[in-house]
Structures are given as C-alpha cells and as structure tokens.
Amino acid sequence: MQCRDFREISDSYLSDELLVETNHQVFQHMEHCSECRADFTARRKFREKMRSAVLNADEFQMSPTFLNRLNANLESAALSQKSWRRMFSGSGWLVPAMASLLIGFVVFGVAYFSYPGGNEVATTYKSMIQGLTEISMKAVGDHKDCALEKRPRWEAVSGTDYPEKAVFIEKVLMPLKAKFSDNVEMLNAHDCVYDGKLFTHVVLKDGARIVSVFIDNSGEIPVGESADDTITSDSNQGFQVASFHNKTQAVFVVSDLPETENIRIARTLSAVFSV
C-alpha cells in the first residue's frame, strides 16, 4: 500500500468501514511508515476533538425543562390511547382478522415443523445465542471479580512479564493503541476461571477505565463452519458486553464504556482476530 492510498482510506479505517483484509494492509502500512502514522494520529485526535466539542457544547445540550415537558406530553399521549381490551369491544373487523391470523399461524407452524432442516437450524441458532448469553454473564462476573477487584494488583505488576505477552501485545494492545489512543495500556494477560468457565483474560486500562477482553478457546459455542464478522452487544449488571467469533474462538469485550465505544473496541479486535 502506498502513502497516497493510505491517506485516501485512513478516515474509513478510523470509522471501521474497511474490509478485514484492507484493515490488515492499513495496519501493516502504519507499522512501517511514521509519516502516515502521524497523519492518522492527527486525524484520530481531530475527530475526538470534534466529537467532544459538540458533545460538550452548551448549545447542543437539551434543557431539562424541555426533557420533562417532552416526557410528560408523550406519557400523557401514550396513556390516553385505547387499551387492547377496549380495542376488542365494538370493532366488527377485529374478530375475522384475528381468526385469519390464527389460521395463518397454524398453517405456518405445520409447514415449518414439517420442513426437515427447519428445526435443526433453529436449534443450532438457539443454542448459539444461549451459549453466548451464558458465557457473556460469566465474562461480566470475571471482569468484576478479577479485573476490577484485583486492579491494584494488576497495576502493581504492570510491565512485568506474563505468559504470551508478545501475542497479546500484537493482537490486542497494538490495534487498540492505533485506533483509540496511545494511552491504552495492557495491565495483564492470564488464564482465568470463573464459575467453571476458563478464559484467557486480557486486562486493559485507558485512564480511569478498565476494559477486559476474554478469549474463549473451548469451542463450546457452535459457531458453525465459517467465521462471522457480526458483533453482538448486550448489557449485564451495568456493564456492556460486545462479542464476536472466528472459526475457533469467541471473544468478549467487557467494560463500563458506552455501548458504541465498547462495540468499536470489539470491531477493531475482530479485524485482527479474523485474519
């Protein structure tokens, strides 16, 4: 990749809008070209500045008075609408419509359950979602018990050697530093068991924030044959959990950041983990 090409697409890289392969090329180019790295840092800093300028400016803050008024007006409008019980009484069209709907459901149900692949696909998808949800909850528990509770310990040992340090510096720390901020630090990486679940746990810090990246190598989630670049997001006990998987691993990002920020971290890592 040439510097000119890089500058054409660096804003799209910053917005997570490039293909996984192109992300990798951009990342490689940045590693070797200090000018483009500086240009990228300037773009990232300016975008952060523009964002914070708008988010913090007084003129863009909704007034509490208006918010209260809006809330009251909407609530009053919602509650004045007819309840479903009243909708049934005196509506001549509703009974035939309900009957047609019921017949439709019965026909659809028969067709669906008699289709040989339908149940199997539904079961696999359902077990995948259940698996993700259960492991997400364990990841949040581990984040609280390990990353947050033991934070002083991780901060004290930060910088010392730990297993597979180099791998996680390359796969987790560097992409996040490049995308977000040079201030992101990796406090520790270790194997960790929570509620019977084994994770590889990478503890990251950016200022006062602690972010956990959990890598599940167990293959317990039936993720299917091909890698999927979908990011799933959920919240649990006040924490955001964004997850994705490749062919062999499921990765969970847990933090108390806003949902969009947490997803951006997961998306950045998914580009690296998919390669």
Binding site: K49, M62, L70
Partner: protein, 189 residues
C-alpha cells in the same frame, strides 16, 4: 415476540417506548440543532419526531437499532418541515465545485479551540455536514447513514470525503489567522 404490539395496553407501550426510545432524545436534540441551528425549532423537531416514533412503535422491533430508527424518522420529519417552509435545497453547486476541485487536503491545525471547530463545522454546507455529523460525531456506520438519509452508500462516502476536505479548508482559515497556515494560497483562496 410475534410483533403483536397492538395488543399491548397504553401502560405497556409507554413503558417499552420509555425504555427503548427515550434515552436517545438527547442525541436527537443534538442532531436537530445541526439541522435547524435554532433551539426552539430543534425542540419542535425532536417533539414531532418522538410523537411520530410512538405512533409507529408497533413497526419497531424491540432490541434492534432504535437510535438509527429514530434518526431516520427525524430526517424525514425535517425534510417535510423544510418542504413546508419552501427551504428544501437539493444541491449547493458552488460548494460542490469547490469540494471537487480541492487538489490537496490541508493538514489539520493542532491548536484550535472547541468553538472554532463548531464554527468551522457550521460553515460546511448542510448536505455535507449532515453526513459528517452522523459519521464523525454521532458514530453511525455508512450503512446506517445511507438508511437515515435515504441516499445510496456511494453518495454517503463521496459526501463524507468532500465534507472532510471542506472542513479542513475552513480549519486552515483559522490556522492562517494565527499565522501558521501556509496552505491557503495553494487552495486558491
């Protein structure tokens, strides 16, 4: 689960709407301020949007992207508002031509205040600013912006590219005022 939201009572509906949609009212207001540049008009636009959203809430699937859904409604409401006021402009030719003919991108000045950033952004023509705000401030994806503005994704990308160039030009003006922007002449200003 099966989309039978019309069976809900008013209380349930309000509860769901309050949980799903109300948290985004502040985001809507911020974007409404960019669309109207006037507090009263922005408040009216947000209120109309929220009422419309509540009326259409049966069509919204819980747990999907409510923020983008609300933003789409607001842009439609704004287009209607501008049509009624006779203010709907499709293209600002001069700025289009300027954006197309900028042969280089001025570097981003390092010393610039928040007020200058907002002022520079407010000088970017509306149809470029819309995509820039949605992408770089509000963090919507290109695909989401394409849906919100009802334009093809290629248009979103080209407008963003031009918007960023125009914004850099505006910012270079501030840098020049401080005596460290050497690129303005090259831009032909």
């Amino acid at each position: 689960m099966f989309g039978l939201k019309w069976l809900e009572s008013g209380e349930d509906k309000w509860q769901n709407f309050q949980t799903e949609a109300m948290p985004f009212s502040k985001d809507l207001y911020r974007v409404a301020m960019w669309l109207t540049r006037n507090q009263t008009e922005a408040e009216d636009l947000v209120q109309e949007t929220m009422f419309q959203a509540m009326r259409s809430f049966h069509g919204y699937e819980m747990g999907t992207n409510c923020r983008a859904w609300l933003m789409t409604i607001m842009h439609n409401m704004n287009a209607r508002r501008l049509r009624n006021l006779g203010k709907l402009t499709l293209v600002a030719d001069t700025e289009d031509r300027i954006a197309e003919t900028i042969a280089f991108e001025p570097s981003i000045p390092e010393t610039i205040t928040d007020d200058e950033v907002i002022e520079a952004l407010s000088k970017v023509p509306q149809h470029y600013r819309d995509v820039l705000v949605l992408s770089d401030v509000e963090d919507f994806s290109y695909k989401e912006i394409s849906t919100i503005l009802n334009v093809p994704m290629g248009t979103v990308m080209s407008r963003l590219h031009r918007a960023r160039k125009l914004l850099r030009l505006r910012l270079a003006d501030y840098a020049k005022d401080f005596g460290f922007g050497e690129n303005r002449q090259a831009a032909g200003n």
